[in-house]
């Protein structure tokens, strides 16, 4: 180093330039996130805010309309309050229950018992599983007649509810399923519990505190920051519930069924934006789906029309089209499980709606045209299997 030779004034300047270089490198490291924030979070947020005051429909117009959208949402949209209520109901039920369950589970798994590692693994495993596969397993478990949950309840002389087929029980059913996957929160609590000093418990034990008191007066205060973090993240994720309402609907073709009891806020938003005409391109309208290059769109056309069934409609009546202007079908009557396997009807419905799709009830592989319903063509043989 030539700092000893050089004049004293050079030292601060050199440090300043070093600091500047360091700062520049720091910015370089966080730059990807800054770009991502502007492009995928901050920008879209501002765009959302601005568009909420316009009549934007994704294609051409974007005129300022003031508070009209909000007025429509609060006063006219039939499903806004329903979906909000459903979501709130679910969150209010789910957050305390899962928090309680994961804290309890974590304290139980914090005991020093041989084989605890295996237990931890077993309880954690469900939280990495999610998606359609798990929902389908749970639909089977919660099946009103043959599901294992109701069978077990039957052993104790309890007639189990209809779960996903009873509008009053759909949300509790989903909360019940969520209780199964509390492992993620449990792991956070477990890590926090292991950081609680052992002496505190020993001291309390000497003073004669019961296990419950020790838990309440030592464990809970010591892990409260993690509880706070977990409650906040669970709340956020709870308000974002979407997929359960889409996949676990009693009628596979009507998201949110039965009776819109699983119509959550985000599901409502998704359907409005991506399947109804608000913020959708014209080719997604039922009449013109054959021009669309997307098979998914055709299938969603099908979805839109499935709900518009009459209460006592025959199979063919159920296949009828609903007027394009109808955003959301009237709530479909709750049905039992046996009636739901009407695939040919669903296909015929889609064929009727989505253009050149020839569907034979017996031989579903004979579907013609490029623009077919997703389920019809992706899985032709699956439907026709013996």
């Amino acid at each position: 180093m030539n700092a000893t030779i050089g004049p004293k004034a050079a030292k601060p300047r050199k440090r300043a330039s070093l600091e500047r270089r360091e700062a520049a490198q720091g910015f370089m490291f966080v730059l990807p996130w800054i770009i991502g924030f502007i492009a995928f979070t901050g920008g879209p947020l501002l765009f959302s805010l601005y568009t909420s005051f316009t009549n934007y429909d994704f294609t051409s117009k974007m005129d300022f309309v003031g508070l009209d959208n909000y007025k429509y949402m609060f006063t006219q949209d039939p499903l806004f309050w329903v979906s909000l209520k459903n979501t709130l109901f679910y969150v209010v039920l789910m957050v305390p229950l899962t928090t309680l369950a994961s804290v309890t589970l974590a304290s139980l798994l914090n005991q020093k018992v041989p084989g605890m590692r295996a237990f931890r693994t077993v309880y954690y495993l469900p939280s990495v599983l999610s998606g359609v596969g798990v929902y389908m397993l749970w639909m089977e478990l919660l099946s009103p007649d043959s599901g294992i949950v109701n069978v077990v309840l039957g052993w104790f002389g309890i007639t189990g509810p209809g779960w996903l087929f009873d509008p009053n029980w759909t949300k509790p059913a989903i909360v019940f399923m969520k209780m199964w996957s509390v492992g993620g929160g449990m792991l956070m609590y477990l890590a926090a519990l292991q950081g609680v000093p052992e002496q505190l418990y020993e001291a309390a034990e000497i003073d004669g505190a019961s296990p419950l008191r020790r838990f309440w007066h030592i464990t809970v205060p010591m892990i409260s920051p993690v509880i706070f973090f977990e409650v906040v993240t669970t709340l956020i994720s709870g308000f974002q519930i979407f997929q359960e309402g889409y996949v676990m609907a009693a009628d596979p073709g009507t998201p949110g069924s039965p009776l819109n009891s699983l119509m959550f806020y985000n599901l409502h938003m998704f359907l409005k934006a991506f399947q109804a005409f608000q913020m959708a391109t014209p080719q997604r309208w039922p009449g013109s789906c054959s021009q669309s290059s997307s098979s998914l769109r055709s299938s969603t056309c099908g979805y839109r029309n499935i709900g518009s069934t009459t209460k006592e409609g025959t199979d063919d009546e159920r296949c009828g089209d609903s007027p394009p202007g109808q955003l959301f079908p009237e709530p479909a009557p709750a049905r039992n499980g046996q009636e739901n396997g009407r695939v040919p009807c669903a296909l015929r419905r889609r064929a009727a709606v989505c253009g050149p799709v020839l569907v034979d009830d017996l031989d579903l592989a004979q579907i013609d045209g490029r623009d077919y319903a997703v389920s019809a063509v992706v899985f032709p043989e699956a439907v026709a299997l013996p």
Partner: protein, 237 residues
Amino acid sequence: MQYPPSFFPKQWRFHNYVETWTSVDFTRYTLNTLFISCVGVCAHVLSNSFVAYGFAKIRFPGRSALFTIVLSTMIIPGFVTLIPQYILFSKLHWVGTYLPLTVPGFFGNAFQIFLLRQFYLGIPNDLIEAAKIDGASHFLIWRRIMIPLAQPAIVTIAIMTFTGAWNDFLGSIIYLNNEEHYTLQIALQAFKVSSGLNQWHYLMAGSVIVLVPVVALFFIFQRYFIEGMNISAGTKG
């Protein structure tokens, strides 16, 4: 079907799996999903470990303010930005490709940045000082010191990303509209819609096929997983 169903089947039908697999182009959907998941893992590991290093170990003005913004973005529900993002990607003509599902991964994820930063904070600064004296740049320090030492946390975020991408339903159903590009999750949902609710044996076989890779991955890496999730460990350092 027997009623009520017995717990132990009288007869095992492994053929259900074969029939399910062949009835649908499961091979293609598996490869598609695998592709998205693997690109996602690479993207997230690279970007988040990079950004987290900047937040954990380099001093620069505005660092704590920026990090506060990172944390606050965790609170923003993804659904708020869903529609504008869709519009953005459709203007870029990315809808119908894998780009909307993979590219954002290269720009960091708040929770994973947070997780990795906590882990990095527990790594002693002496190592970085020593490397600096030897003339290493921050980039070299990140690549040669931080990544190897933060292995448990990196494996954790890799698995989180993989399972997240593997189980992703919303993104796939919005952005993929070509049947050839479908992922397992859409395929399974479509399978369910198409076969109704009385083909349970095939539906369950399909579910198991979709779930098995995640379970396998979990058992292979679970040692890292439980270690890396410990966010409070890093704060002690």
